[in-house]
């Protein structure tokens, strides 16, 4: 069996007393692409934010490379190798594209490695090379998503967590962004993906979890999920 990279055990998160996650269990192996599916408000983003330490966990464990990281500071978790590409991109709008990317490499001290990663990101998204000196806020939504993903890749993450990378993008750009995620997967990147576009996410992922009102209600491979009753009733309305 492959080594577990990330394990989440019985994670409980509450917002002002109201439970958002009610005992979530989830695991990601090294080299795997796992997606978490769920409708708006199911707690998907909360799950990723809890892993990053920007949302306090009420109970449960988050284990990354055999170390418990719940309660750690975000900067420590980033240094451990988890990178979070947040929903809504959260770019440094007034700064040029390249400055945004370089900030993604803040934890790297080795300038050669930074230059190498920058080249890699520009290879992945040639359009960003053309726009490297433009303020990030002047880019289109799709290009901004590329900056967000590229910025995440700049620090050599061991686990890349993508929060709704296709949200609000035109269909053509959704394909482009997701095919990039696909090529990252082929290169061996471990990816935890949160998505509302169910079909695309399942095409991409090795396995998926269904998150409904704070609980995991189903899991399995893409085809298993597509067959299961709970999944069909939750997402496909049949």
């Amino acid at each position: 069996m492959d080594k577990m990279l990330l394990e989440i055990e019985n994670l409980v998160v509450k917002y002002g007393g109201l439970p958002v996650l009610q005992g979530v269990c989830l695991a990601v192996k090294t080299g795997e692409t796992v997606c978490v599916l769920g409708s708006n408000g199911a707690g998907k983003s909360t799950l990723l934010r809890a892993v990053m330490g920007s949302q306090r966990a009420t109970a449960g464990k988050i284990i990354f490379e055999e170390e418990e990281i719940q309660g750690s500071r975000t900067e420590y978790i980033v240094r451990k190798g988890i990178v979070y590409v947040p929903e809504g991109k959260m770019l440094f709008g007034p700064l040029p594209v390249e400055e945004n990317l370089l900030l993604g490499a803040y934890i790297l001290r080795d300038e050669k490695a930074v230059a190498r990663n920058l080249e890699f990101v520009y290879g992945l998204f040639p359009r960003l090379l053309e726009r490297r000196n433009q303020p990030a806020s002047t880019l289109s939504g799709g290009e901004q998503q590329m900056v967000a993903i590229g910025r995440g890749l700049m620090s050599n993450p061991r686990l890349l967590m993508l929060d709704e990378p296709s949200l609000g993008l035109a269909p053509l750009l959704v394909d482009e962004v997701l095919s990039t995620v696909h090529s990252l997967k082929r290169q061996g990147m471990t990816i935890l993906l949160v998505e509302q576009s169910v079909r695309e996410a399942l095409d991409l992922a090795d396995r998926g979890y269904v998150l409904q009102t704070g609980r995991i209600t189903g899991q399995g491979t893409g085809s298993e999920l597509l067959q299961s009753d709970i999944f069909r009733s939750a997402f496909l309305g049949i």
Partner: protein, 304 residues
């Protein structure tokens, strides 16, 4: 005409120093969204630092700047780590009242130690000297030096924010705190750094101002208010905005000079009788009020 030009020059000179006063306020606000009412009190501490170091060692006041900067940095970091850090956990009103309390505390400590009398510098290579640049414009050397060194300090901070790794991380934290933490930028250390740099830039400004401005424990309030006006005008969190707005506010404080110019130009007797100098700072707050109504995020701001 001479009055007009000398008013403009005087306004720009004091504006450069005021820009440095406001710089610290805008950095702290930009990084942490905290309004620091004690800002002027840090300026006062910078003034006393410059004054007493110069008087006790006999060295020129301008040479006290590095010490003022160091005192400011340490004081800023200390205030953050020992006090402001805890305020951040509370509601917004706790932060407002907290820095207000810090202001009262620092002012009264100063009152206790230094007494309430005005103190001024009477020595130094520049004190009392001035340059006559013709056209009846006389530049006091202290103001010229304060303006030049303010711009220098301002530029140094700006370069630090733009070019160094830590400075860029500070800028990123100011732009988007959450995103910066996702880059692995340590938020707590950035807060402490913002306080260190913010307070040290205002203590430098204080050590410059004391060359031509007498100091007492209450001197801070005026500068806090002026700094607020500058930061509001330039945009909360904006460094270039602070410079531009500092110059504008500097010119606004010279409105009495412009009034005299107009009085002469129109030779209007009623204008002579308006006690403009008494309203010197009123116009700063009028500008503050107007900008708050018309464009609350200021000229260069990105927040609000």
């Amino acid at each position: 005409m001479d009055i007009l030009i000398s008013s403009i020059v005087a306004g720009l000179l004091i504006g450069m120093a005021l820009a440095l006063v406001a710089l610290g306020l805008t950095i702290i606000f930009g990084v942490m969204d905290i309004v620091n009412f004690a800002h002027g009190e840090f300026l006062m501490i910078g003034m006393y630092t410059g004054l007493f170091t110069a008087q006790s060692t006999g060295m020129d006041p301008l040479l006290t700047l590095p010490l003022a900067a160091l005192v400011g940095f340490l004081l800023g970091v200390l205030c953050y780590a020992g006090f402001v850090r805890f305020l951040l956990r509370g509601p917004m009103v706790a932060q407002l009242l907290g820095t207000f309390g810090l202001m009262l505390l620092l002012r009264n400590i100063a009152l206790l130690i230094f007494g309430s009398e005005d103190r001024a510098l009477h020595h130094g290579i520049l004190v009392g000297k001035s340059f006559d640049v013709g056209m009846e414009i006389i530049l006091p050397a202290t103001k010229l030096a304060a303006a030049g060194l303010s711009i220098l300090a301002f530029g140094a901070v700006w370069l630090f924010m733009k070019k160094t790794r830590i400075g860029k991380a500070l800028t990123a934290t100011a732009l988007n705190r959450q995103a910066a933490s996702y880059m692995g930028i340590p938020a707590e250390r950035m807060n402490a750094l913002a306080w260190g740099i913010g307070v040290s830039s205002v203590t430098i400004a204080g050590a410059l101002l004391v060359n031509f401005w007498s100091v007492n424990p209450y001197v801070g309030l005026l500068f806090t208010m002026i700094a607020f006006a500058i930061v509001a005008l330039g945009g909360f969190g904006s460094v270039p905005g602070a410079l531009f707005a500092g110059l504008v506010v500097g010119l606004i404080t010279e409105i009495p000079g412009f009034w005299d110019f107009l009085t002469l130009a129109f030779s209007a007797e009623w204008m002579e009788n308006v006690p403009m100098t008494s309203f010197k700072y009123m116009w700063v707050y009028v500008a503050y009020f107007v900008i708050m109504v018309v464009r609350p995020r200021g000229l260069f701001g990105w927040k609000y």
